[in-house]
């Protein structure tokens, strides 16, 4: 028996990252009812996993967590986590219909109090994707300490059904028989805020295809720098050594036709500079080198930030890195073409960070008839005058869903998308939904049986 639920709202926001949350908050503040659909077990997106933001070096978590909490507690916002968007299209009544499959957590969200007793008792360790794979989580776990909602999720791919979690749960929240739930959301407007993902570390054979332990990506470095990171300090993943020499390889996934990413990802220069500055604070004696083709410091105070990094002693080498290879004692040999002095040079570093490219996190093909551009991001029909407008009436795009951008621009664009959506809702002359908050009316539908697992 499949559980079905129906929600009537003014707007549906696809994606619970910083752009999605900002859009939802801005719409909710204008008294519109909003549902946020998030594919992960917690909202927060990429930003909640970052250490600090450039160019102010403010704590990323300190900015994101209040937004997450504000959205979670707003009476006009309902958050659907762990949900797969199956379709987003216009229904026969002219409104938009989003069909979301809420994946089973195998934990009752209403009963779980987030005590993590189940997690501590679970005997299975699994690589923790929220810590860049550098540490472990359990088969049943809460994604991270400030996750919203604070509800455990059971990963059935690693569960042995030993029953320990069920036994120790003080609220009997564990439910091994939980089923997926189909939720139909009817809304007048939709905002796509599905964000970005990084190109794969495995896609570049010249850089080791992810096989060199001490070659990591920038999001993994974010976790090493974060206060609640896997080691609580910066260590080399191959053996726990505090690195003495760290290199950043720029354009390791962007501006590279061989990777299918010919465009600039816009943020790599700045996050590499930020990480280099944070590293020089964490490891004052370490040599830090950034291999770059050109530095793109285009935003407000970004150029000053770049100059500050140079003044701090971070080395900037104008070069294109040709290859990386594992060397002795865990070192990584960097072979590069020096664009200033000429010639091919080889040098070793303890740890190498790749500034990978940004690609779209969501491909709407088969799910939603919204158009995408050649780069895979949502196509804006008026990129200069109204960047948030998409090819579908009533559907708007915010943040990195429409193209690579930094946090400042993503938040600004989220506000713009909310404004456009509000104007659209107002122009539709549709009455706002009854102000009794969003309620999900779940009723079992005697439909086809669903296989467990």
């Amino acid at each position: 028996m499949r559980l079905e639920a129906k929600i009537e709202v003014d707007a549906v926001v696809i994606g619970g990252g910083i752009a999605g949350l900002q859009t939802a908050l801005d719409l909710a503040e204008q008294d519109y009812l909003v549902v946020v659909v998030e594919k992960d077990a917690s909202v927060g997106g990429k930003m909640i996993r970052l250490s600090k933001v450039f160019p102010t070096l403010d704590c990323a978590s300190c900015i994101t967590t209040p937004k997450m909490a504000a959205a979670a507690h707003h009476e006009n916002i309902s958050i659907l986590t762990y949900g797969d968007l199956k379709s987003l299209d216009r229904s026969s009544d002219g409104r938009l219909e989003a069909v979301v499959e809420k994946k089973p957590r195998f934990v009752d969200e209403a009963k779980c109090i987030g005590c993590r007793q189940c997690e501590y008792d679970c005997p299975i360790l699994v690589a923790d994707e929220n810590q860049g794979g550098f540490s472990a989580r359990k088969a049943i776990h809460i994604p991270f300490s400030n996750a919203i909602p604070q509800v455990a999720t059971l990963d059935v791919d690693h569960c042995i059904l030993c029953g320990r979690c069920e036994k120790v749960c003080p609220t009997q929240a564990v439910d091994y028989f939980q089923q997926p739930q189909t939720i139909r959301i009817h809304a007048a407007a939709a905002v796509i805020a599905t964000g970005f993902q990084m190109t794969s570390l495995h896609d570049k054979p010249q850089y080791g295809s992810g096989e060199i332990t001490n070659v990591i990506d920038a999001l993994q470095m974010e976790r090493l720098l974060a206060p609640h990171g896997p080691y609580n300090r910066v260590l080399r993943p191959s053996d726990g050594m505090e690195p003495d020499s760290i290199a950043f390889v720029q354009c390791a996934g962007s501006r590279d036709r061989s990777m299918g990413v010919p465009y600039c990802s816009r943020v790599c220069c700045m996050y590499a500079i930020k990480q280099a500055m944070l590293l020089s604070g964490a490891l004052p004696l370490a040599d830090i080198t950034i291999y770059y083709m050109d530095i793109r410091a285009f935003g407000k105070n970004y150029e000053q930030f770049f100059q500050n990094a140079q003044a701090m002693g971070i080395q900037f080498v104008k070069a294109k890195v040709a290859s990386l290879a594992a060397a002795e004692n865990g070192a990584v040999e960097v072979c590069y073409e020096d664009q200033v002095n000429g010639g091919v040079t080889r040098t070793s570093h303890d740890l190498v960070v790749l500034s990978l490219g940004k690609i779209a996190a969501w491909n709407p093909f088969g799910t939603c008839p919204v158009e995408v551009a050649e780069d895979g991001f949502i196509r804006s029909v008026s990129p200069r005058l109204a960047a948030t407008l998409t090819s579908m009436e009533g559907v708007f795009a915010a943040g990195a869903a429409a193209g690579p951008k930094d946090i400042v621009d993503a938040i600004a664009e989220a506000g713009a998308a909310a404004m456009k959506a509000a104007s659209y809702l107002s122009a539709c002359h549709r009455p706002k939904q009854a102000r009794s908050g969003v309620s999900i009316n779940v009723k079992p539908q005697p439909s086809r049986a669903v296989a467990m697992g």
Partner: protein, 98 residues
């Protein structure tokens, strides 16, 4: 049979069916769990006194990157703590032993 007993029986039967349905993943996860237990035991034996990741790796015959992964996990779940620094490496020890 009381309703509580019936419910218990229903859950038991349901779990049996679920185990059958997830047979492959359960077998694979059980094998992993057994391997993990052995590795954790070997690492914990070394952590009776403060030591570094390479030293544990050498003594236990486990690759150092794997030792670090387990030490980070044990630290997260409150079984291991960082003690002090030894050259470029940090020393860890079991909380039980300290």
């Amino acid at each position: 049979m009381s309703s509580a007993s019936l419910k218990k029986l229903e859950i038991k039967t349901g779990l049996k069916q679920l185990r059958e349905l997830r047979k492959e993943t359960i077998t694979a996860a059980t094998t992993r769990m057994k391997e993990q237990k052995q590795i954790i035991k070997a690492i914990k034996n070394q952590l009776q006194q403060p030591t570094t990741v390479p030293a544990i790796a050498e003594a236990a015959g486990i690759p150092p990157h794997m030792v670090l992964w387990y030490v980070a996990a044990l630290k997260k779940y409150g079984e291991v703590k960082e003690v002090d620094k030894d050259g470029c490496y940090f020393r860890y020890c079991s909380i039980e032993a300290s």
